[in-house]
């Protein structure tokens, strides 16, 4: 029973990170109807920035918590700028382009970001420090890992802030209106271009947080996000691209399932099994658990 519980908690830990990344994907998809396949690579670059800042600042400021916090915030500022620039340079010129065209642009972005990261940082693997370095301890039979609880807690806070923004503020109304119908929103006086910029900035920051927090488990290297990226997409498909709550639940389900499959069935084949699960979702519930089937009118 304790092992089961242990696995579920570890699943919620990774699952909440998948959920953060998936939220970024869905936010961009809803606001600017782009499926951002470069989300993972962009998060990878932000994680590298966090790692480099942390390594270099350690020499000046020592290896304390403050250094880590400064590096973390520095990386988030980088992510904001990065998201803004990507939207401005690559997405906006193609605003009137086709959906497939925009998807292809994000695929080109993968090549640019990944290639640049490899050129600058090399192909080595680096160990990243955990957010909470306090060692694990036992309560009864249950192993308590402070870092896992911190991650779950932090992502919960971020999600609450995000949902509050989307539900209860004028900014959120603008985002939802743009997501619903871009042209009408613009006619109503909503600055849709700014909203699009903002959604890219938020999504890149969400990805960066997921990347930095998962880095201690995966290590920092140019391929670190491949698995996370795929699973966040599966989470988005599972939850449905049309809702914001869906991807969160989807991420948690994928995270828990991933851990349970890895522990009880086979750790070698768990990616394959989770992928099989994606196919199953596509068969049974094509629009996702919380998605609505949209019919286009001619």
């Amino acid at each position: 029973m304790t092992t089961f519980l242990q696995n579920v908690i570890a699943g919620i830990e990774t699952g909440s990170l998948y959920a953060l990344a998936a939220l970024g994907v869905v936010l961009i998809y809803r606001v600017s109807s782009v499926t951002n396949f470069a989300q993972g690579e962009m998060a990878m670059l932000s994680s590298f920035v966090a790692y480099t800042l942390w390594k270099n600042l350690s020499f000046i400021m020592g290896g304390g918590d403050l250094t880590y916090i400064v590096a973390f915030i520095g990386a988030l500022i980088f992510a904001m700028l990065f998201g803004y620039l990507v939207e401005r340079i690559f997405i906006r010129p193609a605003l009137r382009g086709s959906l497939v065209g925009k998807m292809i642009i994000t695929l080109g972005l993968i090549m640019i970001v990944n290639g640049t990261a490899r050129a600058i940082f090399g192909t080595d693997t680096h160990a990243m420090r955990r957010a909470i370095t306090r060692p694990s301890f036992y309560i009864g039979n249950l192993l308590i890992r402070p870092n896992a609880y911190f991650i779950i807690f932090l992502t919960l806070i971020i999600m609450f802030i995000l949902f509050y923004l989307i539900r209860n503020t004028i900014f959120g109304v603008a985002i939802r209106a743009t997501a619903e119908n871009e042209t009408t929103a613009r006619l109503m006086g909503i600055p849709t271009k700014k909203i699009s910029s903002a959604s890219w900035i938020i999504a890149t920051v969400l990805g960066a947080i997921a990347g930095i927090l998962i880095a201690p488990a995966t290590n920092v290297h140019t391929n670190m996000m491949a698995d996370v990226h795929l699973k966040s997409f599966i989470a988005a498909v599972l939850g449905g691209f049309t809702s914001f709550v869906g991807p969160v639940i989807g991420g948690l389900i994928i995270g828990i399932m991933d851990n349970l499959v890895g522990y009880y069935i086979s750790s070698k084949w768990r990616t394959v099994i989770v992928y099989g699960f994606l196919i199953l979702i596509l068969v049974i519930k094509p629009a996702g658990l919380f998605g609505k089937v949209t019919r286009k009118k001619v």
Binding site: F37, P93, G97, G101, A119, P286
Partner: protein
């Protein structure tokens, strides 16, 4: 979709697609002069012959990808893995089961096609986006299988000493002979693609790409034709994989990842969406780029410069010339010939 499609529609009037398949045979025969002359009097180095072989093999793969992207408007991120599947199947069949090369080549196309049909049955009933995600996952999964299923693939170490292909006792050991063989296969497949596109199915695909709703109203089954396009494209890619395996005689799992799928996409988009000539030009561009970059002094030091440049080229082409570079050439050519005839 509207922007991309209308561009393609206007362009296809003047594109080389309109010409007869006979021109493919002629171009192919002219191209064959290179290996034949090289056999008699070696002008080009061994490495250049390898490069030309790569261009031809990836042209076949790009042709398959173009049937999917150009004629059904779907993006796949798993075609690199399908190509790897073709390579491993062909290697396995000729090494372990000692089947003749031509049969192995054929099966290397057919087996990925069956898998493609299976995946397509699930993912193609949904919106465009889902095929991309489903194939992204499939790519990762197949690559994982290549690594773990060691009896079939020999895992990380890869398969070595894949047999040299021979047809009726004639062995294609030399790069020149191999180039002749692969070019003949490319020309055959290009003619097949041409005929396919100009058949009832091909017309249905074009109608579907331009307006799903209108074609649905005309009684075209979207699902059926998308499935045909997807499975045919996996067949082409599988054949290309088999040719790759027998050319280099060594394959390992790392080759068949997402990078290859992205390269295939870049070949098609840069060369020209929905154009047979464009696929070949695009494949040549992507394959020759590393060779050119080796000689550029400043950029040479940056590792992965090719990958970065390909990404930049991909984005520039999709924003500024969504019809691909081949149609720019055709336009330029038409302009030049027009001016000449006026000045006369």
């Amino acid at each position: 979709m509207a922007g991309l499609n209308s561009d393609i529609k206007t362009a296809s009037k003047s594109s080389i697609l309109k010409r007869r398949p006979g021109s493919y045979v002629i171009v192919g025969m002219i191209f064959l002069l290179i290996p034949i002359i090289n056999l008699i009097n070696p002008i080009f180095a061994h490495s250049t012959m390898t490069l030309l072989n790569r261009v031809v093999i990836f042209s076949i793969a790009a042709l398959g990808f173009n049937i999917l992207l150009g004629y059904s408007g779907q993006v796949s991120l798993g075609h690199g893995a399908f190509m790897g599947l073709g390579a491993y199947i062909s290697a396995y069949l000729t090494m372990r089961l000692e089947l003749p090369f031509l049969l192995a080549l054929f099966l290397a196309g057919v087996i990925p096609m069956i898998l493609g049909i299976g995946l397509g049955l699930v993912a193609l009933r949904l919106e465009r986006l889902y095929l991309a995600i489903a194939t992204l996952g499939l790519g990762v999964t197949i690559q994982h299988v290549f690594l773990e299923w060691t009896e079939f693939t020999n895992g990380h170490a890869g398969l070595r000493r894949i047999p040299i292909p021979s047809i009726l006792g004639f062995s294609f050991r030399q790069r020149e002979y191999y180039l002749i063989m692969s070019t003949i296969i490319l020309v055959c497949l290009a003619i097949f693609a041409y005929n396919f596109i100009h058949s009832k199915t091909g017309r249905a695909l074009v109608a579907m790409r331009d307006s799903e709703h209108a074609s649905q109203a005309m009684g075209i089954s979207l699902f059926r034709y998308k499935l045909i396009a997807f499975s045919l494209s996996t067949f082409y890619v599988g054949i290309a994989g088999s040719l790759y395996a027998h050319l280099f005689r060594y394959i390992e799992p790392g080759t068949w990842g997402a990078e290859l799928s992205l390269d295939l996409l870049a070949m098609v988009v840069i060369g020209g969406i929905a154009s047979i000539g464009g696929s070949i030009v695009g494949a040549a561009f992507i394959q020759v780029l590393p060779r050119v970059m080796q000689n550029v002094p400043l950029l040479r030091g940056i590792s992965n410069i090719n990958f970065i440049l390909t990404g930049i080229a991909l984005i520039l082409v999709i924003i500024y010339f969504p019809q691909g570079i081949i149609r720019q050439f055709v336009k330029l050519w038409n302009k030049l010939t027009y001016k000449k005839s006026v000045s006369k």
